[in-house]
């Protein structure tokens, strides 16, 4: 058990490491977990149908056979569009509900800083990460917060793109603001989606394929990560958690002493 909290990650003993590896701490609230998978499913459905909607040679992504299959499954592209819009609307509504009930929490400065704020450690991390992959450095990565810099970059992209995708989707669906705007909405919609897809590939790889981040994947199901992983990969967050734990223990001890003193006093 570590009683004093180091300022930066120190080497651990085998026992320390094992203890920490077996101890789970909470990383994600269940609401976040649900939203994540809901979002993932929506994106899957929307990408499959969205790409299946675009047929103009200047714009299309998918090959003819794909367009035919998607059109066939839905019995006509008009139904593909209807489905795409319906799912999109549900997606917007769910996010809106989250927004309505949670904006006070989600838009707190510290929460945002946590998710998308890049500090010096983050910048260094980004630089070193790329060099590491290229085998050009042997330095270790700087300590990271709850989300590492890569995750923060992705979050930034998604936070920017999702409102754009939602708004442009609505503009196209309801023909808001006139034809000129609808035309641009279409292009912005494709661009934003495309950018997210590029980030998505990294996200899915890191989450599902890259072995070092396996605990991260499971945390998106259980909401928990093991302490060792947190210590190694999200040290600054581990520190916060530890400090809170110690502070909590202190409070308990103080409270207990009070109670004992009261009892003995009588």
């Amino acid at each position: 058990m570590i009683e004093t909290i180091p300022d930066k990650p120190l080497p651990l003993t085998v026992e320390q490491a094992e203890t920490m590896a077996n101890r789970m701490i909470k990383k994600h609230h269940v609401a976040i977990v649900l939203l994540h998978w809901f979002n993932a499913l929506t994106w899957l459905l929307e990408l499959v149908t969205g790409v299946g909607l675009i047929v103009a040679p200047a714009l299309k992504i998918a090959p003819e056979w794909y367009l035919a299959v998607v059109g066939g499954v839905f019995d006509g592209r008009a139904n593909v569009l209807r489905f795409h819009i319906a799912v999109g609307m549900v997606w917007i509504v769910v996010f809106a509900v989250y927004g309505i009930f949670g904006w006070r929490h989600y838009l707190k400065a510290e929460v945002l800083r946590n998710e998308i704020g890049l500090d010096k450690d983050d910048i260094d991390w980004l630089r070193l990460r790329i060099l590491l992959i290229l085998g050009r450095t042997k330095k270790s990565l700087p300590p990271q917060g709850s989300y590492n810099a890569g995750q923060k970059m992705y979050a930034l992209l998604v936070y920017a793109a999702i409102p754009v995708i939602m708004l442009t989707g609505l503009i196209m669906t309801f023909h808001w603001f006139g034809t000129f705007v609808v035309g641009w909405a279409m292009v912005l919609h494709f661009t934003a989606v495309g950018m997210v897809v590029s980030g998505l590939m990294v996200h899915v790889y890191m989450g599902a394929v890259f072995p070092e981040e396996k605990p991260a994947f499971y945390s998106m199901i259980t909401g928990m990560v093991n302490e060792l992983y947190a210590y190694r990969h999200h040290f600054k967050w581990w520190r916060e958690v530890k400090q809170n734990e110690l502070a909590w223990k202190e409070q308990l001890r103080a409270h207990e002493s009070e109670l004992v003193a009261k009892q003995c006093g009588n």
């Binding site: 080497p11 651990l12 490491a17 590896a21 909607l53 675009i54 047929v55 103009a56 040679p57 200047a58 714009l59 592209r77 008009a78 569009l81 209807r82 992959i133 290229l134 085998g135 196209m172 669906t173 309801f174 023909h175 006139g178 034809t179 000129f180 609808v182 035309g183 641009w184 279409m186 292009v187 494709f190 661009t191 495309g194 950018m195 897809v197 590029s198 980030g199 590939m201 990294v202 790889y205 394929v209 890259f210 072995p211 070092e212 396996k214 060792l228 190694r232």
Partner: protein, 243 residues
């Protein structure tokens, strides 16, 4: 199979707009827009040698429509009978087809947010009726029929009596609305109302020039990045925990 076409007899046409209003009534075309337009060259020449002609224009259901390939959702297509149709359920009203038509035959219905244009009253045809404009024209200046039927009036006018398309060297997409009448009047109309150029909306131009490339680059780069990372991972093995 029929191939529908229309011939406008410029000598019979008096520019009374009956066709335009009947069309508006039949298809709920909102005020400010039109499926069928009646234009005039205005009086030209010097007194007393003057001339003027009316020019009725609508979708030409072209042989090689420039509006069909630009529709993102494929909402517009051409029937075997030549009529170019719009599926309103697939149309998002982006305006690409409106810009693509060199004859300016399309418009976006502001109330519905969908593209619209003349379709030779396709729904009326299936009921055995003439297009509304043809039926109402007091001067009988609009002649409609099957260009592949040698007994039809349009066949006669087009193939035997010189009814003409209005095209330019730059834009010759085979419109199936022909114009009949005095040579002088045909010439005036061709000069005053030639087809323009098929255009692309600014958004799609930007997509083609910049955005698409950007997206392809990003997706390609990340894909490559992932591939490199994956191989690196295979090479260096798994690092679950530090020793």
């Amino acid at each position: 199979m029929a191939r529908y076409a229309m011939v406008i007899d410029q000598e019979r046409c008096v520019g009374c707009h009956s066709c335009a209003v009947a069309c508006r009534s039949e298809w709920d075309v909102p005020v400010g827009f039109a499926r069928t337009r009646v234009q005039q060259t205005g009086v030209q020449g010097t007194m007393p040698e003057c001339s003027a002609v009316f020019h009725v224009a609508q979708c030409n259901q072209c042989e090689r429509p420039s509006c069909i390939p630009v529709c993102p959702t494929g909402a517009t297509w051409q029937e075997p009978n030549g009529i170019v149709r719009i599926n309103k359920e697939l149309c998002i009203g982006c305006g690409s087809c409106v810009a693509a038509c060199p004859y300016g035959a399309r418009y976006i219905n502001a109330d519905k947010g969908k593209a619209d244009k003349c379709d030779f009253c396709s729904d009326r045809l299936t009921q055995g009726l003439e297009p509304a404009c043809v039926a109402t024209c007091p001067g009988k200046a609009k002649i409609f029929g099957d260009l592949e039927d040698p007994k039809s009036n349009v066949f006669n006018l087009v193939y035997r009596e010189g009814a003409r398309r209005i095209e330019t060297a730059q834009t010759a997409i085979g419109p199936n609305v022909f114009y009949a009448g005095k040579e002088e009047h045909l010439k005036m109309a061709s000069i005053a109302f030639p087809p323009g150029r098929s255009r692309t909306i600014a958004a799609v131009s930007v997509w083609g020039a910049v955005a698409k490339k950007l997206v392809m680059l990003a997706v390609g780069a990340t894909f490559l990045g992932q591939a490199v990372a994956f191989f690196h991972q295979l090479r260096t093995g798994e690092h679950q925990f530090e020793e």
